[in-house]
Amino acid sequence: MELRADLFRDKRILLVEDNPRDEALTLRALQKHNLQSAVAVTRDGVEALDYLLPAADHAVQPLPQLVLLDLKLPKLDGLEVLRRLREHERTRLLPVVILTSSAEERDILESYRLGTSSYVRKPVDFAEFTEAVRYLGLYWLILNIAPPAQ
């Protein structure tokens, strides 16, 4: 199945990633599947929460279809971001995929305990990484039926 841009005109991915090289590589992988224009990027946990849970006097962005969340982030780490997202009515059901270098058992367990939708380890081999991103896009933006807005 091919991913076409018009299939997700209004669908968006929020990438939470602090490493600019990893960001460039992830965007490159998304671009290969025509997904790049659908991505917003935040570079630490606080920024990500501001984006998803804006303060009352800030402009409210529509929620993305999918959050790709790194674990190791400056200020607030990924697990803490996830915990707070699950505490809020607005983001309680939002699909969040942990996308990280770590395959530590306790990271995986803790992520699921806190309610991640999925956990994916970034492969070192970029060809495999691109493939993983393609699967993620296919699954979460097209195949998956998102929870209805409340």
């Binding site: 990893d22 190791k72 270098s101 770590s102 970034k122 070192v124 081999d125 970029f126 060809a127």
Partner: protein
């Protein structure tokens, strides 16, 4: 014990009566000797005291006896008990000092372990990230700037990518090695045959083109940590699978035999084998007896196997001949090996 008691009873009354008449050194030594006999024979202080009173009663009216001398005799016969009590107290004091330093050592070990854990954790995360960049941007160069590079230049980039991926494999190997030490050891009954069948089925799925005959003994139960024992078999069977890669009719056998009085489990293959002259090196981290052009690998597998076996208080060793396959043996909970 009753026999010892009877002997002492007779001897006691006789020696005591002699002592009451004449308090000589010989009788005193004999009282001490009787006490020692009682102590080693498992007879208690109260028994001696009872015995003493019986003996006194048999010797006549209390008023007519030199009671202070009798008390001296009793004290002498009890002296071995007193000495042993003192020894016990001293040993106890030493033990409690030893315990304190053991507790301190344990606390220090735990601190080191926590540090190690934090360290391997950041190794996992921080060392892989730059490798991903090295690989990813090399591939980006190959894709975007292919016409600016000649074939030699493209080959260099492919080598850069290979090196990055090798290093990623090394880091993963080191991590799994350290996980063996970090994880808590559980003890349960594990069906090694079932594990082996699982692992081999997995290897078969990953390489459906290979023709490998597998023979697994029934009833291969062991006591140990299921997850670690799986890691152990994964490495041994992975090796057997890999080093039979050039065999037209590969064969892998998993079974149990006896090494002296112990059960030794084994994994046998008919693959490339190795030179026994280097057998001692086999279990060291990063030690390999084959070049990557012959067989790929990182050399961390058998080091992991050895750690797992040691944590289960066992031994591991191998027998082989070049070109004639290899057999890896291991025992668990061997006598004379701590966990």
């Amino acid at each position: 014990m009753a026999g010892v008691m009877e002997d002492i009873r007779k001897d006691y009354a006789g020696t005591l009566s002699g002592y009451l008449i004449q308090a000589d050194e010989e009788a005193r030594l004999h009282a001490h000797e009787l006490g020692r006999k009682a102590l080693t024979g498992g007879i208690g202080v109260l028994d001696i005291v009872t015995l003493h009173h019986e003996a006194l009663a048999s010797l006549g009216e209390a008023a007519s006896l030199p009671l202070d001398r009798a008390a001296e005799f009793l004290a002498e016969s009890l002296s071995p008990f007193e000495m042993s009590l003192r020894g016990y107290r001293e040993a106890n004091a030493m033990l409690s000092t030893a315990n304190t330093s053991l507790q301190q050592a344990q606390a220090a070990t735990e601190a080191v372990n926590r540090e190690l854990e934090a360290f391997s954790y950041s190794v996992a995360h921080d060392l892989r990230a730059p490798l991903r960049s090295i690989d990813g941007f090399s591939l980006a160069l190959l894709e975007d700037c292919a016409d600016l590079l000649d074939e030699a230049g493209r080959q260099h980039l492919r080598f850069v990518r290979e090196a990055a991926q090798d290093m990623a494999a090394l880091i993963d190997g080191l991590l799994s090695l350290s996980r063996v030490t970090r994880s808590e050891l559980r003890r349960e009954t594990v069906d090694l045959a079932e594990l082996a069948r699982n692992i081999l089925a997995q290897l078969r799925r990953a390489a459906p083109g290979r023709n490998v005959e597998t023979v697994i003994a029934d009833d291969l139960f062991a006591e140990g940590d299921a997850r670690l024992l799986r890691g152990l078999l994964e490495n041994l069977l992975g090796n057997a699978w890999k080093f039979t890669g050039r065999q037209a009719a590969a064969r892998i056998e998993v079974g149990m035999t006896h090494a002296g009085r112990e059960r030794a489990y084994f994994v046998r293959d008919n693959g490339a084998g190795f030179d026994m002259a280097y057998a001692a090196k086999l279990f060291g981290a990063f030690q390999r007896l084959h070049s990557p052009s012959e067989f790929e690998g990182t050399g961390i597998g058998l080091a992991t196997v050895q750690r797992i076996v040691h944590r289960h208080g066992g031994r591991v060793w191998a027998k082989s001949e070049i070109g004639r396959g290899a057999t890896f043996f291991f025992t668990l909970w061997s006598t004379g090996h701590g966990a």
